[in-house]
Amino acid sequence: MSVTRVTATRTLCNIRRPLLACALRSYVSASRGKASQHMPPGSELAGKSNLTPRIHERLQHLRTRYADLNARMSGDVSDLGREELAKVSKDFSDTGQIVIPYNRLLELYGELTELQQMIDESKDQSLRTLALEERQVALEDVAATERQIINGLLPKDQAESGGAILEIRAGTGGDEASLFSGELLRMYERHSQLRGWKFNTISSLEEGDRVKEATIEVSGRGVFGALMFESGVHRVQRVPATETQGRIHTSTVTVAVLPQATDVHIEVRESDLRIDVFRASGKGGQHVNTTDSAVRITHLPTGLAVENQQERSQLRNKEKAMQILRARLYDMERQKLDKERRDSRNRLIGTGDRSEKCRTYNFAQSRVTDHRINLSLYDLEGIMSGVSLQHIIDRLRIQHDLDELADMS
């Protein structure tokens, strides 16, 4: 019996708290007056929203456009040329991706207004409780619909849906840094396993648990989109196993994530490459039976060098090395473009600048802090096991999308 009572009280508390917050919020938005004339009615009841008045203005435009296109498509289309028709129908479906959830959002705002009225005016306690519950559901719907709209508004980056090449390098801190880079490597490996990605070591310089540097190919759907925020300097603060006096050291590991340039055409001229193969000084051919088939490719104009000896076939090693080289060149190009596009802005999340401090792993406090979004999680173990990393990635993704959105409007 007593257990039931406790649960009931707790439920009530849960309902009451948002009610209070909501009342406060509507008070605040009312006092702001007509600062936001483009905000649709009811949106002030939805709580903290990522959609600014300017975005709402843009959405209203899209809505009108969608109605126009709809009228055009359902009318006589025989005068349109084949190409024009294709263009109009593509436009129609693209706009629909945003406008349909937006219409749903407006409906939800309407529902919220009604529910609020019911809550404010109703004298009947049970009806009020019902309305409060329903409002909670509606608020969740609003958040989901907003995400949908934001996704639709954002430009699509081809590279994000593809695979990635992950490079991990021990930075300052000697042995301790290479120990930690080994731990990071395993964190990413486990995370990849959890998400069903293929994790393939291309090259690594390691000694027991110490990893000086490693290059990994991660393939699967949406790998780069998820891992792209991992680029940067990862800091570790702890008492190293090698430390005798119990002092806390700070070491760093650099992570770089490159999109895989499979679909993108990167022009690499044969004459710009120098290819070195193992035992190149011997006679080759029938004279030797090569098993160690390391290949190194140097791109002369940029000085980039890639080495691979993973496979038993020299040609496949060369192909792999070329693939990595392409990815690096593609990344250089991308970074240049990105920098041009984003120089004017002040963003929370950098786009893979390798020198940027991005995260701190503090073992003494069992805390991981992501400096870009100022998020601290006291779940070091969960993160190092690759499970809770998802949580950080999700938060970074949201922040990234919001930044993009803010730049657009």
Binding site: G182, K198, F199, N200, T201, S204, E206, G208, D209, V211, A214, I275, V277, R279, A280, K283, G284, G285, Q286, H287, V288, N289, T290, T291, D292, S293, A294, V295, Q309, Q310, E311, R312, S313, Q314, L315, R316, K318
Partner: protein, 372 residues
């Protein structure tokens, strides 16, 4: 089954391999051996037996599945998961590799060659990456010509008849059979060795599903008097268009210096050109051998001439531009041999020659053309 814990660790095996191969190569080879043990030795049946037992579907599925490679730091951890049969196999493999100098490819039993998966088995020559490289380049050249010809003329050109001499495991014939455009060639691989013929036929069956062109094998001794040869070969419709080969080209003095894994394991007939009609290849005195290593190349040039390759093509479809396709393609072992091969080809009526280098920058293959 009780196991001695000290036998469980793989580190002694790694140390043993490192002593004869160097640390880096030892790490790679042990990794490949473990991968192989995990994939193929699970139930103690070796790969050849398994191939015969497998259904076609099963075989094809295995060909297409690319297993991700393991990183070296996982060697110990992976070792924990090996069964005792796999461990025994692994110990035997490392002993074979270090004490008997058995080539890794013979231990693993398989080598990729272009798209094809070639079964390898002693004493047939193991396919070399240099050969794979020029085979792929040649295939690309032929494919460009075929595509152009198909676009230029309304009729589909007849398939090219390609003869491959000294086919060994059949790798070049099968590699071309996989890489060349659908039904653009008919390839016949010829070898004198019964071992090679048997292996080539196994490889034909193993790669059947990957082939896009007809490939056949035929046992014949190409060192006979050349005027007798054309009658012994099953001639395709319209005569031969191209002769390709990786003939023996190691000189007797070089042969003495070869690494043990080559000299003790691979058939001398695939490496050194022996005098025609040699009954016992293992006991030929060095003074009977050709010191330049070019005897077989010369024989091939004669054969090419006899087959009409060093002259105007008899084909009626001009769209294929036979003048710009090589008619004789021969792998060689040094710059000196390349020059000598060019001279031999000119002497036998070829109007132009070309030398291709391999990835390591060494002269690797000589191509003879007949241009008007």
């Amino acid at each position: 089954m009780p196991r001695c814990p000290s036998n469980n660790t793989l580190l002694p095996l790694l140390r043993k391999l490192s002593e004869s191969l160097g640390e880096q190569q030892a790490k790679n080879e042990l990794r490949w051996l473990i991968e192989h043990a995990r994939k193929e030795i699970a139930d103690g049946i070796n790969i050849q037996q398994r191939i015969l037992a497998q259904s076609t579907e099963h075989r094809l599925a295995r060909l297409w599945r690319e297993q991700p490679a393991r990183s070296t730091d996982e060697i110990e951890r992976e070792g924990d998961r090996l069964s005792s049969v796999q461990r025994t196999w692994l110990r035997q493999a490392v002993a074979d590799r270090t004490e008997r100098h058995k080539p890794l490819q013979y231990i693993i039993g398989e080598q990729k060659f272009g798209m094809a998966n070639i079964i390898v088995r002693p004493p047939v020559l193991i396919p070399r990456w240099e050969t794979e490289e020029w085979m792929l380049r040649l295939a690309e050249l032929i494919n460009t010509h075929t595509t152009n010809a198909r676009e230029a003329s309304a009729t589909i050109p007849k398939p090219l008849n390609i003869l491959e001499a000294c086919t060994g495991s059949g790798c070049i014939a099968l590699g071309l059979g996989c890489e060349l455009a659908d039904d653009s060639a008919r390839i016949l691989g010829v070898d004198v060795s019964a071992d090679a013929m048997e292996l080539a036929m196994d490889n034909l069956a193993f790669n059947q599903m990957l082939l896009s062109n007809q490939v056949q094998f035929h046992r014949a001794d190409l060192q006979q008097a050349v005027h007798l040869l054309p009658t012994q070969l099953p001639v395709g419709e319209g005569g031969w268009d191209m002769l390709v080969s990786n003939p023996p080209y190691v000189t007797p003095s070089e042969y003495r210096e070869l690494d043990a894994d080559v000299r003790e394991w691979e058939d001398i007939r695939a490496l050194v050109p022996l005098p025609p009609g040699t009954a016992d290849p293992q006991h030929v005195s060095e003074k009977d051998m050709d010191p330049s290593g070019m005897a077989f190349v010369e024989q091939l040039a004669k054969l090419a001439k006899e087959l009409g390759l060093a002259g105007e093509s008899q084909r009626d479809d001009k769209a294929l531009h036979m003048g710009s396709l090589p008619r004789l393609v021969v792998e060689i072992g040094s710059t000196q041999q390349a020059q000598s091969a060019c001279q031999i080809m000119h002497d036998h009526g070829f109007s132009a020659t070309e030398v291709w280098k391999d990835m390591a920058g060494a002269d690797r293959v000589v191509l003879g053309f007949f241009k008007q």
